[in-house]
Symmetry: C2
Subunit: 432 residues, 2 copies
């Protein structure tokens, strides 16, 4: 017989385990990454055990372990950035440290203490200050910490002359070995490219806006009471995730710049253009946020709302379609003029709406207060079309900058589109 | 005579130096922080030089240096968080490492290799996986890296038994010394409290929204051509910085929770309430972003715009005043009902505006299209008042949660308001 306490704990454990399982299923790449870290460390251990002379410098194995644990990140971009930073900073700071140690040694015993203190202070102070610069921080923050660290370690060392030089060389070599193991494990075992993540994220953000716009018309002009459960209206809330995605997009773009050519992405893929499109999408999301209030606010009576129903629904639907096509253009990496034709449709609907409004369609309304909500919705939709047009222009620009393939060529079967379901690249070769 | 090249380089150098200077003047705390890092390192060097036996374990000085360089951050919260993480993780992982090493040793020579590989793999894999959990990542990410690191170093060590235990203890002690030096330098020399930064940032964000709202009425209803230079209208653009401040506020709140009592801030200051207010302020900023479009769009002719001028200007002005008073309440940390009275004024103006609109004030307009911009502005302003009311409620809640002092007591001179100009706390004791 088990006591109720044991049963309780058991139930709790089961919940925690199922939570962890779900969490891994959310993004299986996390599970794979965890395995990769374990594997890289075991690799170092085995190498060290069977060939203690492999590295040739005994204790320094800790630097290889340190390097792997810290350098190996989920994405290739982050791993390459950190590895590069670590190797370059260790090399530079090692050289400078050996040089400053030599100079300090020339100044006699007391002089050495003073000189070393001055060197350590000046370097640590200057580099720490440089870390605040936003441009340097984005790409080289980790390198600057490692620079201070290595310089201090070399300067503070009790060894001098050739011995010191040897230590510095050994340390650099272990760090290069550690970084290379981390980079190789990251690239060759199920790589996660952060550039692709950014690519998919921007396409996904545009799609979220499109979902709202495609559904808005029906939702706002629907006269019947809402019978659907809130669950079925998820599409009206997805755009909210676009509102606060700025800082994430920016850090992804910084990391993506470290990545080499892979799949459809060149080394100098126009990542900045993604940020530009992301910002335009956010401006559109702010407008949508203002518009969404009118789904719940008291609405203009249906008889007056219905006057603008057809045109407003058309504007909203065509804007949504334009965005969905643009999102697809990014996802599948092809050039197409179809978003522009939807934008033209939306713009001509805007002109028709303006003409309609010039004929005083609400003449019979009881008072102006009643028609204000409908008027605001019309006005916001007209603003949104301008935003949508800019997003489509941004995507067109991206298509030229990144040499996307024209849609017609895509269907002759010579390109390799990127799958949007998971992180891996499928090579699709469609025969005509 | 100097060659033109030398002159050119000299000019460039001067520009770079003046840029660095300006950059330091932007936030003098950066300069102070850089000095603190240099100082802490020199302190360790001097201790190590004059008392090589001070730490009692020779080479391990590198762990103290490593700790100081990595743990000493700009703000007290970040330094305490990292120091705490580092000490706890080293202690736990050290103990676990020694235990697993003992178990592995029991399994014979070959068994040891297999067991150690399994231990390293399982621990590294599990902890890396846990790092993806958002709750753990926010507060303990650094600790989890250090945990993997220390566990691997102890497990991979060639030493066994008592020697290993000694190494682990020494390492832990050096790390505690390093963390304590970093924490003391951070707290006792010109401390930067990130909680205060968050406090000021939230107050500043509300003020930025207030600036826009206070200026909007005049700007929109002004009939004359814009003669002022764009520079003078900075107040109309400041709110834009609120739009994308979410992730920064969140990370500040996480760090602020590490900080001990200081000045007016208790240990368990309601930091979460700041995030709530921040989110409400952002919702208001989205609406303002939608409203700001109408400053530049073609406007309703002045004769019809002027009909709602008085009430709309009042709504916007009173909303702005309510926000400004709320911002001041946060800044000076006092309770006051004055924001609520401004909110009431704004709400009664909204009611008057609604009544006005019910009398069909735009009857004589040529067509409905002309009056749509003015109608939209009125409608958005009505929405904004709801947002403003929620912000003021949030600030009231903060005032109760954080035990702000009633305004009347403040002026009897018994509290210490926080200065908003720089990072230091001024103790103001006003005699009656």
């Amino acid at each position: 017989m088990t006591s109720p306490n044991v049963k309780k704990s058991w139930a709790k454990l089961v919940i925690v385990i199922s939570m962890i399982k779900e969490f891994g299923q959310d993004d299986p790449r996390r599970v794979i990454h965890s395995f990769k870290v374990g594997l890289a460390l075991v690799l170092i251990y085995i190498l060290h055990h069977f060939r203690p002379t492999f590295y040739g410098f005994g204790d320094n194995i800790i630097w290889a372990v340190l390097t792997v644990v810290i350098v190996l990140e989920l994405s290739v971009g982050a791993t390459l950035g950190k590895g590069f930073n670590r190797m370059l900073a260790t090399g530079l700071a090692g050289g400078l440290g050996v040089a400053s140690n030599k100079i300090a040694t020339l100044c006699g015993d007391k002089g050495k203490v003073v000189m070393t203190s001055i060197f350590v202070f000046v370097i640590a102070e200057r580099v720490t200050f440089m870390r605040f610069s936003p441009q340097l921080k984005a790409r080289y923050d980790y390198g600057m910490i490692i620079f201070i660290l290595t310089f201090c370690l070399i300067s503070l060392s009790d060894e001098t002359g050739n011995e010191l030089l040897e230590i510095a060389q050994e340390r650099l070599l272990t760090i290069i070995i550690g970084s290379c193991i981390a980079i190789m494990v990251c690239i060759f075992i199920c790589p996660v490219w952060i550039g692709e993540d950014l690519h998919r994220k921007i396409a996904g953000n545009i799609e979220k806006l499109a979902d709202f716009l495609e559904g808005f018309g029906d939702e706002y002009f629907n006269n019947s009471e809402n019978t659907e459960a809130e669950n079925d209206k998820q599409f009206l809330h997805r755009y909210k995730r676009v509102l606060s995605s700025k800082s994430m997009e920016e850090s992804m773009a910084v990391l993506a710049r470290w990545e080499p050519r892979h799949g459809q992405f060149r080394f100098r893929h126009p990542w900045k253009q993604y940020l530009k499109i992301g910002n335009l999408a956010r401006l559109c999301a702010y407008k949508i946020e203002a518009l969404s209030v009118y789904l719940n606010n008291p609405k203009t009576p249906y008889e007056f709302r219905s006057i603008i129903q057809e045109l407003c629904t058309k504007i909203s639907l065509e804007s949504g379609k334009a965005l969905k096509e643009s999102s697809l253009m990014i996802k599948k990496m092809y050039k197409s003029s179809s978003p522009n034709s939807h934008v033209s449709n939306a713009k001509s609907a805007v002109e028709s709406l303006k003409s309609l409004l010039r004929t005083n369609p609400w003449e019979g309304a009881d008072n102006h207060f009643e028609i204000i909500p409908a008027a605001t919705v019309a006005s916001l939709l007209i603003d949104i079309v301008i935003c949508v047009e800019k997003i489509c222009e941004g995507v067109d620009e991206l298509a030229s900058l990144a040499n996307f393939v024209p849609y017609e060529l895509l269907h002759r079967g010579i390109v390799q589109p990127i799958s949007d379901s998971d992180g891996s690249v499928h090579v699709v070769t469609v025969a005509e």
